[in-house]
Amino acid sequence: MRIFYVTLKYTAVTLWSMFIIAPFLWALSTSFKDFNSVTGGATYIPWVDFEPTLEGWRVLLRSPAQGGVNIVEPYLNSIFVTCMASFVSIVLGTLAAYALSRFTFKAGFIKNDDITFFFISQRIMPPVVLAIPFFIMLGKLGLLDTLLGLVMVYVVLLMPIAVWIMVDFFNKVPIEIDETALIDGCNPYQAFFKVVLPNSIPGMVVAGLFCMIFGWTDFFFAFILTFTEVQLLPVAIVSLNSSITPWWSLSAAALVSVAPLVVVAFIVERYLSKGNLSGALK
């Protein structure tokens, strides 16, 4: 029975790992192909099945004028928008979450939980519902196709995540910490910035990671709200997927875009093992 269970366990884990890795391996292999090795049917192993070439990767560094695919600028744009929006969301979200966790608000029938729900409920909103009014609103403000406009929209997408994680986190930070600081003569701002905040770094890191994941991987808003001036990475890569798809450069670009967040997986796992996530995610 025990041997059966162990075998089952390792079989399951191995099969799932293969499923996860498969598309990456296929993309890696494809990125070294050229036109002939793609259109001749599926091929897998370089040198055995096809003659590898670096063309797919070289294209990424060439300027569009020379027939290249420019992903450097979209890459930088994506980094800028994701970081800015995450930063704003974390700052505002942390402050709001602290208020919601420590103070009592009451305005008619609206209480703390309702305000928290209001923040989080923004995630229920399907992107299409917001896309059209955002399109018109940013157009009126002259912010269509600009980085600033995108940051604004992404703050709406990311702040709910920050509030959700941080409210939960602050609820687990003992209130005695605040009270001790207040008794020691801090005013409430000092108590927050000097005592509570340093103790909340793990929660903020987790919230930041989640904001970055969801910001970096968003496609829809970037797709609707930008045209030519500003392009984010997912849009740039998907636009390669036109009538005649250059599978090789597409694969190379996809791998390059996916790489930075794989590092995030390691950090998340670290937090998971140390037990910091269980408090922050529930």
């Binding site: 399951a12 296929w26 399907p126 992107p127």
Partner: protein, 287 residues
């Protein structure tokens, strides 16, 4: 603890969110009462005409909604089952534990739309590796262009992409469980299966419910995958609600009508998610 400056903490975030959102929401409501399209752009007032059309004369919307329900319930069910199984396995001692934990997280870190482009090449009907394998048996399934299979393909890709999220929430939950109930169960001589049924699963119920609801919310927005993989096709056979609204609004520029669609859709979603949440709570707490 209470003091007058508490609003200084809350208001910056709240006001920014309200400030950015108030126009879009208000405008959508107003837009849904107008006939704004690409021929007559303007905010005229036609009352509830758009809503009448939606409820009496638009089977395509309701079909896309049924399809969405089917797709999201199926994918979330698969994600939960697989995610729970994987989390349970790597929760205990296993060789290369850290390696597996990191690996199982990776798909959720990748951009869905970009990975879908890769999946599209994987499932390519004549040049992709999947059909290369199936051709060994003399069949070439039409993964992207047959009505039944295109949905299966969408489900496979969604499961690949988002099982890690379920896995993460459930593993974080498993790691936070208290040790005592398990010790007590061991002393009573419970085997691994009984331990799971009577200790682990009930203890995990609240976390499971949370995870399922979060995933249902996100899954109901499914759009990128469909857009890249099948563009809703063949015909409209893999079209989901979001995608249909997208087509009406930003392809055919029927802004007024798509606003009515959006609001109706939003209200249905909120109601059904609330009901599902209540049902899940009852189901899981009782068992």
């Amino acid at each position: 603890m209470n003091f007058k400056h508490k609003y200084l903490f809350l208001l910056p975030g709240l006001l920014v969110l309200l400030g950015i959102l108030i126009f879009p929401i208000g405008f959508t409501v107003r837009l849904s009462l107008s006939s704004w399209d690409s021929f007559f752009p303007g905010l005229d007032f036609i009352g509830l005409e758009n809503y009448t059309r939606l409820f009496t004369d638009d089977p395509r919307f309701w079909e896309s909604f049924q399809r969405l329900s089917f797709l999201s319930v199926t994918t979330v069910f698969l994600q939960y089952t697989i995610g729970f199984a994987l989390a349970h396995i790597v929760w205990k001692e296993i060789l290369f534990q850290r390696f597996f934990r990191v690996l199982f997280l990776i798909p959720m870190m990748t951009t869905p739309v970009i990975m879908t482009v890769i999946w599209k090449t994987v499932f390519h009907e004549s040049l992709g590796p999947v059909n290369d394998f199936f051709s060994l048996f003399g069949v070439t399934p039409l993964w992207l262009s047959s009505e039944a299979l295109s949905k299966v393909t969408v489900i496979i890709v969604e499961v690949w992409q988002w099982t890690p999220f379920m896995f993460l929430l459930l593993l974080a939950g498993l790691l936070s469980l208290p040790k005592e109930p398990f010790l007590a169960a061991s002393i009573d001589g419970a085997g691994p299966i009984r331990k799971f049924v009577y200790v682990t699963f009930p203890l995990m119920a609240p976390i499971s419910i949370g995870a399922i609801i979060i995933r249902l919310i996100e899954a109901s927005k499914i759009m990128d995958t469909v857009y890249v993989l099948t563009s809703g096709g063949p015909g409209t056979s893999s079209e989901t609600s979001s995608f249909y609204i997208f087509i009406k609004g930003l392809r055919e520029f029927q802004f007024g009508y798509s606003a009515a669609l959006s609001l109706t859709y939003l209200i249905i979603m909120i109601i059904s998610l609330t009901i599902i949440a209540k049902m899940l709570v009852k189901l899981m707490i009782r068992s």
